[in-house]
């Protein structure tokens, strides 16, 4: 019984795989299983596939890659698992394997976006300007649907508006400016900086800034993810508190300790850094204004499942006088999944449509969404359904 993993690449470990007893309690919580009813699109099935490779009965082949590609990595299964199977860790390792097995040309295309653009702040900004110009000229309508649904709304005005100078007094709290957030969600950044000030911090932004590496890590590009993690740590570790206003980023910043655990020069710094991370909705900032309306709440998977954040979002809204309204879909993933909606457009569209309908059914005029991937997907699917419901970060709503 020898494992068929590709050597020299991170792989799911025997111990992690052994935490699954195949009880199947994860099945109903998995969005892709709910859509397909296939064991092959369930967490238990994916773990069984990994175990088959581990036990030498299967290889990292086309089928294995398809089963892993289809996973949104929403980690809803992880929260439901009585054995606490570290599914997020397993799927990231499995993806490192499938990336290594992918044909060079295909891999190059997949990597171009993540490593070539997102990882570089200037290129990301440039891409933002490009998108803003295209959208201003309405040229974006020419793009294929799968790209359009995954593209954020970027305006020329938004690109020109700078972030505020340091806000407030007190210990320093630094906001991760990030990649996509920085070009398409500056209003959320501004609201978060204000909230950091109201929470008693001196709110600052990094001199350079850049991507936290979550997208790279989720796509199995571990080395790129480690590289970006070191950059962010070096740049931000001076602050007492590190804040992120994107659920995917705060969850990923909190995993730096694990990501760099094998790097003797960085392991301690990474652990200390992760311990100082706060998600924007955890700031306990008093609201800046009163909101007298019902607000639909979308729970980002990286909040609800990866960090157990859910009540916090509702508290932010309730403190301002708003009535948070749950979607009644059990917090199912909206199908954005980082760049999932570009790679698996059909599944993403099914889930996006379901989510848009659930939001519309609340009758609210605005939906609170604390993650850029979700916000893009939800906004585009709401518009596709003819709905004008506004998509806002919870702190933006109370700013």
């Amino acid at each position: 019984m020898s494992a068929n993993w590709i050597p020299g690449v991170p792989a799911p470990t025997h111990d992690d795989l052994n935490t699954c007893v195949q009880c199947g309690l994860c099945l109903p919580h998995c969005p892709t299983f709910r859509v397909t009813g296939l064991e092959t699109s369930s967490p238990r099935g994916r773990i069984a596939a990994m175990r088959a490779v581990q036990e030498g009965q299967a290889t990292v082949d086309g089928d294995f890659t398809r089963f892993t590609d289809e996973c949104l990595a929403c980690r809803a299964c992880e929260a439901a698992c009585p054995s606490s199977v570290p599914y997020g860790r397993l799927i990231e390792a499995a993806r490192a394997q499938t990336e290594a097995a992918r044909p060079v040309a295909e891999r190059a295309v997949r990597r171009a976006g993540i490593n070539g653009v997102i990882g570089h702040r200037r290129l990301t900004r440039l891409m933002g300007w490009g998108l803003a110009v295209m959208q201003a000229l309405r040229l974006d309508r020419l793009a294929p649907a799968r790209l359009r649904m995954a593209t954020p709304r970027v305006t020329l005005r938004g690109m020109r508006q700078p972030l505020p100078e340091p806000v407030g007094d007190g210990p320093e709290a630094m906001l991760l400016t990030g990649c996509v957030m920085d070009i398409a969600f500056r209003p959320a950044h501004r609201a978060t900086l204000h909230a950091m000030g109201r929470a008693g911090y001196r709110a600052t932004t990094p001199a350079q800034g850049g991507c936290c590496g979550a997208l790279a890590a989720h796509a199995g590009e571990v080395e790129e993810a480690r590289h970006l993690a070191r950059q962010r740590i070096a740049e931000m570790e001076g602050a007492q508190v590190v804040v992120a206003d994107s659920a995917g980023c705060s969850a990923h910043l909190r995993s730096y300790g694990h990501l760099l655990a094998d790097d003797p020069a960085w392991a301690d710094r990474a652990r200390a850094f992760s311990a100082r991370v706060r998600d924007a909705v955890e700031l306990d900032a008093p609201p800046a204004r009163t909101v007298d309306e019902r607000v639909a709440v979308h729970d980002a998977c990286h909040h609800l499942h990866a960090q157990g954040i859910g009540p916090e979002v509702r508290r932010v809204l309730r403190d301002a006088g708003a009535t948070p309204v749950d979607l009644g879909d059990g917090g199912r993933c909206c199908g954005a999944g980082g760049i999932y909606n570009v790679l698996e457009p059909e599944m993403a569209a099914t889930l996006g449509e379901q989510k848009a309908r659930a939001i519309m059914a609340t009758g609210a005029r605005v939906v609170a969404v604390a993650n850029p991937g979700c916000a893009i997907q939800i906004r585009n699917h709401l518009r596709a359904q003819g709905s004008e419901i506004q998509v806002r970060h919870p702190l933006e709503i109370v700013d």
């Binding site: 052994n18 935490t19 699954c20 007893v21 195949q22 009880c23 199947g24 309690l25 994860c26 099945l27 109903p28 397909t36 009813g37 296939l38 064991e39 092959t40 099935g45 069984a48 596939a49 088959a52 009965q57 299967a58 082949d61 089928d63 294995f64 089963f67 439901a80 698992c81 009585p82 054995s83 606490s84 199977v85």
Partner: protein, 480 residues
């Protein structure tokens, strides 16, 4: 692949399209398992969405002479949904439609892939629920529940699946479709619906089920009792029922299990207790008060340490989550488990718990107990690491001895999980040759070719004898 199998695959592809027929090695591997440690050999997987599609699949399998194993969510614990000889698996997981509720008759037709808990959730606004609640209810399917005649904590007061299935639509092995049972409380003729419930997919594929819906109780109280000895807890179980109170549920959990599950749910379970009882009484407020008083009085008589009464619905849900996720939490101890669900008369609970402790200690295996104490339905979970052949051997041996001990105390093999492969060879412990042959004859009446989930339930070698007895075998003077 044989020519017959290749032709079958072509035919199935025409009906279902390439997306709903799985043939790849890895997919077949995944469908060769269920929630148990049994492994099998799956030839191909079909995923029909309608009764007509199932019937068409069954006709093709009939023509090809291929064996068929139906599958729901695959949470079963006896290998019932595991194909053994490379046959066709028909997964009903895509058949998830519920018809509108018949409120006047309190019933609803559902497709077999509908999940148990989803039924209760969907009818809660009508003040109704589907009473049988297997611990895996969030994941297990109605079709699977029908196959195994599933139970659950609340079956003590409400009865098991067969009492809640009014009718089934069955696709027979040759592809003909038949409805057995109906809304009327007692359909004329033989109760063939009762044969299908618990048949574990050996008589055909169930494609629609008419479920009885039960009113939600007006009041409910959930209590957690903790004891310093397993014997005291066991004694309380029979004493409560002897006092004339049938709680809605009466569950026991021993210390090993409590430790594992508390790590997941953080429900504040007393991890130093030797045994916990989870007792729920429901009914009108007056009934609930009376039941609660009896439970507390009996427990006090047997040295209960504390009685924790759930203060609100959240706390009640948390206590039930602790109970219902228990099996899955075993992986915190070992990567696999081997489990029987044998039954003893509840008057023998104290004894059997001692015997189980002796057996597992002698074999040097770790046993976690969590079970439906009220109806004597045990779940001794033996935790093991399958990569350790010696430990696996000892676990199997301990399981074997536990089953035999239960039967020797007047119990039986299975309370709710079914027989499947795992308990098949124990059937002669409770049935003699004639009984088994009679059961084989029933099975054969539905499935003359023996292609439906073969080698399950009845021991290999049990064949239906000639039904029409030869004249010479009939004793003289017998009236025929």
């Amino acid at each position: 692949m044989t020519t017959a199998a290749a032709e079958l695959a072509d035919g199935l592809r025409q009906i279902l399209g390439a997306d709903r027929l799985l043939m790849g090695d890895l997919a077949r591997n995944l469908y060769s398992h269920d929630g148990s440690i049994v492994g099998g050999d799956c030839g191909m997987v079909a995923l029909p969405e309608t009764t007509d599609e199932v019937a068409a699949c069954m006709r093709l399998a009939h023509q090809a002479g291929v064996e068929v194993t139906p599958r729901g969510s695959g949470t079963g614990l006896t290998g019932g949904a595991v194909p053994l000889d490379g046959g066709l698996v028909i997964s009903l997981a895509r058949m998830r439609e519920m018809e509108p509720v018949d409120v006047a008759n309190s019933c609803v037709w559902v497709q077999p892939g509908v999940l148990n808990l989803d039924v209760s959730t969907a009818v809660a606004h009508l003040g109704l629920h589907y009473a049988p609640d297997p611990s895996s209810q969030q994941a297990c399917s109605i079709g699977g529940n029908v196959g195994t005649n599933a139970g659950g904590p609340h079956c003590l007061a409400y009865g098991v699946t067969v009492q809640h299935v009014l009718a089934v639509e069955l696709v027979r092995p040759d592809g003909t479709v038949q409805v057995l049972g109906g809304v009327a409380p007692d359909a004329p003729g033989y109760d063939l619906r009762g044969v299908v419930v618990g048949a574990e997919g050996t008589v055909g594929v169930v494609t629609r089920v008419l479920l009885r819906l039960t009113p939600l109780p007006p009041d409910v109280r959930t209590m957690l009792l903790d004891f310093t000895s397993v014997a005291d807890a066991s004694a309380v179980v029979q004493a409560i029922i002897a006092e004339g109170v049938i709680p809605a549920a009466l569950e026991m959990m021993d210390r090993n299990m409590t430790l594992a599950v508390e790590e997941f749910v953080h429900a504040g379970l007393p991890t130093d207790a030797a045994a916990l009882l989870l007792v729920e009484v429901d009914g009108t407020p007056a009934e609930v008060d009376t039941g609660t008083a009896v439970v507390q009085r009996v427990a006090a008589r047997h040295g209960v340490r504390t009685v924790r009464v759930a203060q609100d619905e959240d706390e009640r849900a948390l206590l039930w989550k602790a109970r219902k996720t228990a099996f899955g939490a075993v992986a915190r101890v070992k990567p696999s488990y081997y489990l029987h669900d044998c039954v003893v008369p509840r008057t023998r609970l104290v004894e059997i718990m001692e015997v189980i402790a002796e057996i597992t200690e002698r074999e040097g295996v770790m046993c976690l107990n969590v079970f439906h104490a009220g109806d004597g339905n045990l779940h001794p979970i033996i935790a093991l690491d399958r990569s350790d052949p010696d430990e696996t051997e000892r676990a199997m041996r301990a399981g074997d001895q536990i089953v035999r001990a239960c039967v020797a105390m007047g119990g039986t093999l299975s309370g709710e999980h079914g027989i499947g492969v795992e308990k098949r060879d124990y059937m002669p412990l409770v049935f003699d040759e004639d009984d088994l042959q009679a059961q084989a004859c029933v099975r054969r009446a539905f499935d003359p070719d023996g292609r439906m989930n073969p080698d399950k339930v009845l021991p290999t070698g049990t064949r239906c004898g000639e039904v029409g007895l030869a004249d010479t075998q009939v004793p003289e003077g017998t009236w025929i």
